[in-house]
């Protein structure tokens, strides 16, 4: 699908949504918010390289799925008392950040070991430098001996809603996702392609960053991945349940 088609579908969808009777009011009054996109504020570096990235993703999430989400992100420090109210955390940045304190390491370990989820997104896209280096360093402290590993193509996060074959973002630094897996769940997923940059729009609704080299299709992949990761966090390995396997296999066979 080219950029024109993508825009057409999105605009049609927005139009269709706008024709629904009081969808926004309906959501606010009746439908409670089930999902809040919480972003970690850390010390040092740049914790918020794309301040406007989350809202477009949340709008996309609500338009495509049954999840009701807060359109604005929630900013949270690891040691905040209400951290555990937000089982989905997002950490992003460009530069190296300060090491987590022992308390922060322990809190994150508990958070991720007992059902919480962390999406890490490298906005710089330089492997071994800046944010990438700092993230790997801190994750090693949280889960010693359990390094990031490439997620297989059949991972539940890549089929929790869309059947994904590509990982989008502003630039394709790494065509695969990495993750830290504990048992049969992956509480940490890491994308090095600057997803936030692909999601971000300015106040006038224009995309802030161009996606290269795939253009709008690559941006669409970034949105799809964002939705998939959120649904994966909320449904765990639901799509690995036996009841889904034959359907998914059939569709993958047809579309390949």
């Amino acid at each position: 699908m080219d950029r024109r088609n993508f825009i057409r579908i999105v605009s049609q969808s927005i139009l269709a949504a706008s024709l629904l009777p009081n969808r926004a009011a309906y959501s606010q009054e009746k439908r409670p918010i089930q999902f809040v996109f919480a972003q970690i504020k850390y010390r040092g570096g740049d914790w918020n390289p794309h301040p406007l990235a989350v809202t477009p993703l949340m709008e996309e999430l609500m338009q495509r799925t049954s999840v009701e989400a807060a359109t604005a992100k929630h900013e949270v420090a690891i040691t905040d008392r209400d951290l555990f109210n937000y089982p989905f955390l997002y950490i992003t940045g460009k530069y190296e950040f300060e090491p987590f304190t022992a308390e922060e390491v322990e809190v994150l370990r508990r958070f991720l070991s007992y059902g919480g989820f962390l999406l890490a997104d490298d906005a710089l896209g330089q492997q071994g430098y800046g944010f990438d280096m700092a993230l790997r360093r801190e994750m090693q402290k949280i889960f010693p001996g359990n390094e990031f590993k490439r997620l297989p193509s059949g991972h539940a996060a890549l089929r929790s809603y869309y059947l994904l074959r590509r990982v989008g973002g502003v630039r394709i630094v790494n065509p695969n996702l990495e993750g830290i897996t504990l048992g049969n769940v992956t509480p940490v997923i890491y994308c090095q392609n600057d997803l936030g940059g692909a999601w971000e729009r300015d106040q006038l609704g224009k995309w802030t960053n161009a996606c290269t080299p795939g253009g709008e299709e690559q941006r669409r992949d970034a949105f799809h991945l964002g939705i998939n990761v959120i649904l994966y966090a909320m449904t765990e390995n639901y799509k690995d349940d036996l009841i889904h396997v034959p359907f998914i296999r059939k569709r993958l066979t047809r579309t390949s």
């Binding site: 699908m1 993508f6 579908i9 999105v10 049609q12 969808s13 269709a16 949504a17 629904l20 969808r23 009746k30 439908r31 409670p32 089930q34 999902f35 338009q63 495509r64 799925t65 049954s66 999840v67 009701e68 951290l83 555990f84 109210n85 089982p87 508990r110 958070f111 007992y114 059902g115 919480g116 089929r159 929790s160 809603y161 869309y162 059947l163 669409r220 799809h224 959120i230 649904l231 966090a233 909320m234 449904t235 765990e236 639901y238 799509k239 349940d241 009841i243 889904h244 359907f247 998914i248 569709r251 047809r254 579309t255």
Partner: protein
Amino acid sequence: MKDLYLVGSLPWWVIALVGLGTGALLVQQFLSLKQRLALGQSSFLVFLRTCVYILLIFFLLGPALVDKRVTKLRRPLTVLIDSSESMAFPASSKATQDGKPGKSRLDLVREKLLNGQEPLIQKLNRDYDLRLYRFGTSVEPISPGSLSQLKAQDEGTRLLELLPRAATDAGAQSGILLFTDGITNGDQKTLDGTPALSVPVFTVGVGETEGFTDVRIAEVRAPEFAFRGREFKIDLTVQAYGLKGKSVPLYFNRGKNLITSRPVAIDSDSFEQKITFSFNPKELGTHSFSLSIPAQPGEQITENNHKEFKVDVHRDKIRVLTLSGSPAWNYRFLRMAMKQDPLIELVSFVFLRTPTDTVDVPDNQLSLIPFPIDDIFLEELKNFDVVFFDDFSHRAYFNPVYLERVKDFVRDGGGLAMLGGFRSFDSGGYAESALKDVLPVELDNKGRYQTQATVRPVLTASGKVHPITRLLPDPKANEEAWAKMPPLADLNQVRGARGETLLSASGDGAATGSPLLTIGRFGKGRTLALMTDDVWRWNFIAVGNRETPQNHLKLIRQAVRWLAQEPAFEQVQIRPIPTSRPGEKVTIKLRVLKDDFTPTPQASVQLRVFGPEGEPSLVSATADSEEGEYTGEYTPTKEGSYRVEAEASLAGKTLGKDKTSFSVAFPYGETDDGRPRTDLLKQIAEASHGEFFSINDWNDKALDKIAAKLESHAPSQIVEQRQTRLWSTLWPFSIILALLSVEWWMRRKWGLI
């Protein structure tokens, strides 16, 4: 009469040497005397001395007089008569003129022993020291007079265990006369390994193998327990005699319901075929099964055409179906609790997309699967134990008529849990659905879903003891654990509770006092209403507070078990009843718990036992103790499978029901195989040097044969011997003295002295 015997112990060669020495001495004496006396005188003296020597040498041979007296003894004879149940079978395949079976095997034995001018039993009593016994599982002496009253009612035949003992007790001179059909079903089935028989056993075979007509179900092998939904196999053997060329139907039933049948073609006179049936149990509990073949024309034994067995069907897992209205943290942590529980098998559907959601790719690039409405509600629902409606409303997805199926599912014993949320209870439109009557809360379409509240759980009196909300065994610690639970933000408010409220809401405003967790019953099933979609906080927020997430996990797992009616969560529990035998008193024990799961001795317990034909009996049950234990007693009269149903109520309110079954059977299977075992009787006779007779050949000649055989084995005449040694008498000494005196006198007269 006395006979002379030489009983000396000296060897012959010694006696021969002595004889030779003596001869030489006599020659020397003769030659010496001849020089001094005339020939005649010398010869006379040597003759006298020769006589003395001959006598002495003769005594060296040990001459003795033996006096023999012959005494004829009365020989003991042990007569064993089989009085086991198989002796009630017809003795012959020939029916009587009116078509009824002929006389029984025991009747025939009685006839042979008691009938006639001089009954054979009298002859035996006259000729032998008769010891008459009946035997089956044990041996008991009987008098000849009681033989006519003897009944074939022993439940087994321990022939090969009892026979060696009887042979030992009988004594060396005796014999054993055995009247039996040869059916033996004790521990020992063949002669191999049986102690050697020390006396001859004369076996009299009763019952005909020629023309024996029977078809039977033998060797049924079925598992004692099976898992629901998993096929199990039943192996059996069909044996038939005298029915060559026929085809008989074999029926496999569960209770009274036919599962399957198949024809069995009998292609030989002595026919045996192994058959396997399989069955996939769908319901939990104890199931009675039966295998049967209709009675065939001319069949002598029909009791063995039917076999019953029971299988306890357990669940290997509790199958839970969850329908979630959308991805949510409540689903995430509900799933975690169930997936980590090895007893739970979870099938979940999460509605990832509503009809108003649009997608930007073709459907084949989505992982969404169509919700199989018909498959779930019309076909598969019965295969689940518990259904969770997790913030799910049917309105957008299917016709409310499908909820009738859910209502039926609960009525038939399934568990239904509805968790709160925007799409649940009144907000989900359930006040106008079939589930309105099923749920344990009152719906009136006015209830609302409250968000951004602060709701804390408060244990009610029932909640403090109920197994769902018992997170810790210690009551005080349990209350403390609930007090520490993080507050919830969302609450579905309804008009009220109809069931038992275990947790009520406490907090700000309208939430206070509302039911938070309520349970109930509908038909045979159980229901649960958790009025919030926010209980994930009891897990994850607790983790953030450095508390354990286990309370949430335990709450979910215990709720699932209670809804699935796990035995440990039953208020009426009948204890397992072991297999008994007819006439033996069966004790039925059960435990009764109140709604708050504390034992009660005040319950009214109705205990009913249904016999093999379905005939009901009311059994009174009394409380044994304050621990809620009740006991009833029942005495079954016949073999078969008995069903027990218990229902307990307290103050007019039903507490619960339970049912089980038990088998009543004789342990020996005496009537299983009625074929006479002539071959075994022949082996016994041969091994003991006795003889086998057919009952038809049993007459005076047979008695003579037995007498002769016993005589050859151990004569009944006893010979008494008295031995008198000649040397011990006065006569030999007197003769020798006389001969020596004559010799001395002659020597003196002839001047030698």
